[in-house]
Symmetry: C2
Subunit: 683 residues, 2 copies
């Protein structure tokens, strides 16, 4: 018997002959870099990059307006990979098109600590990563914000300065997430014709065939939300090109291009199956793909001619960019300087005068005022000073006080304005605001009830992680919401939000602190911020004319103890600050030297040095914290002898004062707690 070679297994999904061998070869560069990187990392998701490689090749080669040598060019097209697990698709494109910091070494260090090539694309890790994606559905929702920002900027600055597309790739998982519906619905309503989405319609998810869990007609679904929908074979490069052309010609509606693809295109046995989705393919599968796709380079090596072709793609936008730069230079001086200032993320000079004016008005008025109302007043003052502020609310405009008198509403097809009715789409709003902030030129803020921060939480997390200045205006911030009851009364939300790294949670205690918090938010361009604001009116507790921002260090001594060394420290935030002030008066009248510490922002306080923290918290162990929320996190400041006056359960429906009384969050309770500690430590 003669020895026989084992025949290669017949491919489960035979590879169709390419329309254009050169394009297929260019796409194969993406496929093999993706396979090789996942194999080397022994971890990752090869299937989607391989399935989407043809679409990406046509899009980047023939349409994407960008210049790899200037990743920050404002008028570049935006590319969003909503199915972020396909990160090797993006990293391959960045390397191939010649982004300087995406080296082959970085590709080889895929998914290793310290690399630019994390498991999912991380904003700011490398140039060309427009945003962080991975949690499914976030990318499509953020891209709606980007596309909206483009239109708003276009309406203000004209076609010469802002005129580009937003392209987004998304997978089956993105479409199953509820946030995708909010995004699709909002984009369709607003007629965002510059948004073009590509659905990687490969019918595979982690549990197996998508038919295990979903039977939706996605074409009909997008159509129901006013989208233009096209269906193509995602491996037919002619069809891809034609679809993109049709989509670009359709300017009154966003377009979905449903691309029928084979996950793991090129794998001999895994193509079209769940096994191609995640995990390293193994040497045999890669060897098979080499045969099938006629690829002869060693791992991580791209043939010179193909690399050259790709580098040309990365450089082809250079002329357009230079022409744009000339147009910027030729623009009227005022427009140009406004454009350059805004897109550089700089605030106008003298914007702080608006804050000063708001403070002065509050002091002149002197009356009780809800901090949500104070926030609305601050925004009214800011409107003229900072034209890039873009407001909105998730259908709670009159409650959130987010709309200033002057703001013009954005409407379908009419983008010359600065207020967005986001609808009852908290999550979609939050993600869209991230996209708006990332686009550049606009500062988004949006409102809902604090309780519904839960609905936006995955997007809030990304705001914090990406360090973008997305501003959450969240009112009705405690049981002080009253009659709507426990489902609408935030109790655990302050703690839960303070737990998010890098997120600045502000809870001002009166109108003056509200102005201070807005000032702090606006002067920190790389920090996501959330304002927790009261429904109920609060007394004005400050009246300094000097305008010093006392909230800037996160916590400060509002009233120092008098008549001797401090015996008691009362800590409070927001609507409970008044209780601490009243309790101090009682304790002082009893001869107990008592200080009140206001702590509008825990994060900023934690950044102070030890000496400042000690001075604020005082040396007496008699500390009482009062906040109409759960205790979690307060132990740090009150210490083992301290007491906490706040919530230990969900809230209850009722009149505001009745609810506070019911849960024992009162001046008396604060006074009593202080007395008890003094007694305990005297023993």
């Amino acid at each position: 018997m003669t020895e026989q070679a084992t025949p290669a297994p017949s491919p489960t999904h035979p590879v169709p002959a390419p329309r254009d061998p050169h394009l297929r070869a260019m796409a194969n560069c993406i496929r093999f870099l993706s396979m090789d990187a996942v194999q080397q990392a022994n971890s990752g998701h090869p299937g989607a990059p391989m399935g989407l490689a043809d679409v990406a090749t046509v899009l980047f080669k023939d349409f994407m307006q960008f210049d790899a040598s200037d990743p920050h060019w404002l008028d570049r097209d935006r590319f969003v990979l909503s199915n972020g697990h396909a990160s090797m698709l993006l990293y391959s494109l960045l390397y191939l098109t010649g982004y300087q910091d995406m080296t082959l070494d970085e590709i080889k260090r895929f998914r290793q600590v310290g690399s630019k090539t994390a498991g999912h694309p991380e904003y700011s890790h490398a140039e060309g990563i427009e945003l962080t994606t991975g949690p499914l559905g976030q990318g499509i929702a953020e891209s709606v914000g980007m596309a909206l920002a483009e239109r708003i900027m276009n309406a203000h600055f004209g076609d010469d300065l802002v005129n580009h597309h937003t392209y987004v790739f998304l997978g089956d998982g993105c479409l199953m997430e509820g946030i995708s519906q909010e995004a699709i619905s909002l984009a369709g309503h607003l007629k965002l014709g510059r948004l073009i989405a590509f659905w990687d319609n490969n019918s595979i998810s982690i549990d197996g065939a998508t038919s295990l869990a979903v039977s939706d007609n996605e074409i009909e679904r997008f159509h129901a939300s006013g989208w233009h929908v096209l269906e193509i074979d995602g491996h037919d490069t002619d069809a891809i090109r034609q679809a993109i052309e049709t989509a670009r010609a359709t300017q009154d509606r966003p377009t979905l291009i449903a691309c029928k693809t084979i996950i793991g295109f090129g794998f001999p046995t895994r193509a079209g199956t769940q096994k191609a989705h995640s995990d390293a393919p193994g040497e045999a599968e890669i060897a098979g793909a080499r045969n099938i796709l006629d690829w002869h380079s060693p791992p991580f090596e791209i043939p010179d001619d193909l690399l050259k072709a790709w580098r040309e793609v990365g450089a082809k936008g250079r002329d357009a960019r230079l022409a744009w730069a000339d147009r910027v230079k030729a623009a009227p001086q005022a427009l140009r300087s406004d454009f350059e200032r805004r897109t550089a993320g700089k605030l106008p000079e003298n914007w702080k005068n608006a804050i000063v004016a708001a403070r002065q008005a509050f002091i002149a008025d002197g009356k009780e005022m809800a901090t949500r109302k104070a926030s609305g007043d601050v925004l009214n003052h800011l409107f003229d000073a900072i034209p890039e502020l873009l407001g909105g609310s998730a259908d709670l405009t009159p409650s959130n006080n987010t709309k200033t008198k002057q703001q013009v509403e954005i409407k379908p097809g009419q983008y010359a304005g600065s207020y967005v009715h986001y609808g009852v789409r908290e999550h979609g709003m939050a993600a869209a605001m991230n996209g708006i902030a990332l686009h550049g030129g606009l500062i988004p803020y949006g409102g809902t009830f604090l309780c519904f921060s839960d609905y936006c939480r995955p997007a809030i997390r990304l705001s914090a992680m990406m360090r973008v200045r997305t501003i959450y205006v969240m009112t009705h911030d405690s049981i002080g919401l009253g009659e709507d009851g426990p489902t609408h009364q935030p109790v655990e939300h302050l703690a839960a939000l303070r737990a998010i790294p890098q997120l600045a949670v502000y809870r001002p205690g009166d109108a003056i602190e509200t102005a201070e918090c807005w000032e702090l938010i606006l002067e920190q361009p790389r920090r996501a911020a959330l304002l927790a604001l009261s429904r109920q009116p609060l007394p004005l507790l400050r009246n300094e004319a000097d305008g010093e921002n006392r909230s800037a260090r996160g916590a400060y001594i509002l009233h120092e103890a008098e008549g001797g060394p401090r015996q008691v420290t009362l800590l409070a935030t927001g609507s409970e600050l008044q209780l601490a002030v009243q309790a101090r008066e009682i304790l002082q009248s009893e001869g107990v030297p008592t200080a009140v510490v206001s702590m509008p922002c825990r994060l900023l306080f934690e950044e102070q040095d030890k000496a400042y923290k000690r001075a604020v918290l005082g040396h007496s162990p008699a500390r009482v914290a009062v906040e109409a929320a759960v205790e979690l996190g307060w132990d740090r400041y009150i210490g083992p002898e301290g007491r906490f006056i706040g919530m230990h359960s969900f809230g209850e429906s009722g009149k505001i004062q009745d609810v506070y009384d019911k849960f024992g969050i009162t001046t008396d309770a604060v006074v009593r707690a202080a007395r008890e500690i003094l007694k305990d430590i005297a023993v």
Copy 2:
């Protein structure tokens, strides 16, 4: 000149003549109770109850299978008010149909502290409130779970015992929330023909006309998800009746009945406008409604004949209920006792043998094992013992280890099974599980990555608030997730979840604790629970044969200090428990008596008495806590001299050990921290 009466303003929406004056009068009972209650409370939402009154009257009078004298009848139809702000609609129905605890006094105490009539319907506040609603979209998603539970119970127990409908009212806001898409998509996929939804299509939300923010074709959208859709005039009682009949006859698909309604139907000037949505209408508006609707009773008074008619509606299901009870009695003994046990929420005798068996297997095996794997093994042992366990995952079945070998998958139209592929719909899954748990007869558990608890958070909050035994199996619970990186690595989630009142968050440290946590979860029928489980293998740290559940008190001394009074206490949870155990060995070897405290459940520990807590935490101030998560909440246990080894930022993509090293979460770091405290306090 003679005095002339001011003419009444012409109504903005003239009231159409009723098809059936008696039905209109019955509906007006709901309208006036709602108006009167909102007016008295000076707070609430009158518009939706007034708009939906005709639909509710026909549904309850002619279709709803229920008996007001036995609210817990298992085979009753379920009624879900997803637009929970329309709570007065439900309270009116409960009072009118004669639920004993819904008195007129309660209606008069609408939205007051201590009443059964909270601003939004609160489960367990009054009989007949099937679930807590208010956060928009939750009700429709929970009703999908209820309808699925009905089919699964029907498949197991047959038409004689379980055979009912789930009816859900929803508003425009529910449809704008992303969770509604997850719910609609899942219900359509599973062909839940017993689910009938009524859309209150009134085109008004808080910001104004819904056209400000939404342009979706909802009919097409539901159709795209496989629903049967009907469109009717929501004030035409004949059309309503006919639509419900058609919907009930359609058993292979869920039905949406789009009801065109006038918000605030009957108000003279506010009908059909945003002003009818929220807030007290004022006396003038109510007086106008009295004229228009021909209503002559004083506030809160229902004419005897109408009350009698309504009480008959509440009693009409009595015979059906008694017949059902007879069928239960006549059922085969084994089926009957199983049915009665399960629907009473009692576990089978001897179920704990499965836990014992799982523990024994872990000890016999003795190897390293991820707690997610241990959880899967426990479930395999539990499968035969507790047939009412209903598993599932949001498309992470192989990662979450949620599917046992024996479980049969639920498929469209095929409900004889015990595993649900929920798809990439974490939020919809969580809410559906609430509905399943509330339905009775099933114990739902479902998996995703811990990081994506953020996507389910509004539903998790409701699990906790309603005290239902919904079980969240959340794996990949820290930076130990590794290469997928910061977007997938939970950091703040443990703190954020522990902040939710009444939610038991379990983070077991090895396979034995995993079995203990499952035991604790299952034996507490009124507590929502979340398991945080490791991706990475963990050593077995326990090997007692006695089977005592040491996790039952939330925290316990895993190893007491030896060789003298305790000098150091190391606290840990989950995958970091092994670091504490290793650190203790080093410290003991250096002659430092060191204890290790394992704290798998903070909530249970907080419920212990002071003496136990003190004994566990020890008297030495040298305490070190180690957890691969943010510090928030740990100060409480480590005190001012204590140290925390954990996360102070988001995570990073990389190999597990590299990531732990990068963030300094190591045995050495724990040892060093202990030594430093001992040095500090010795000074």
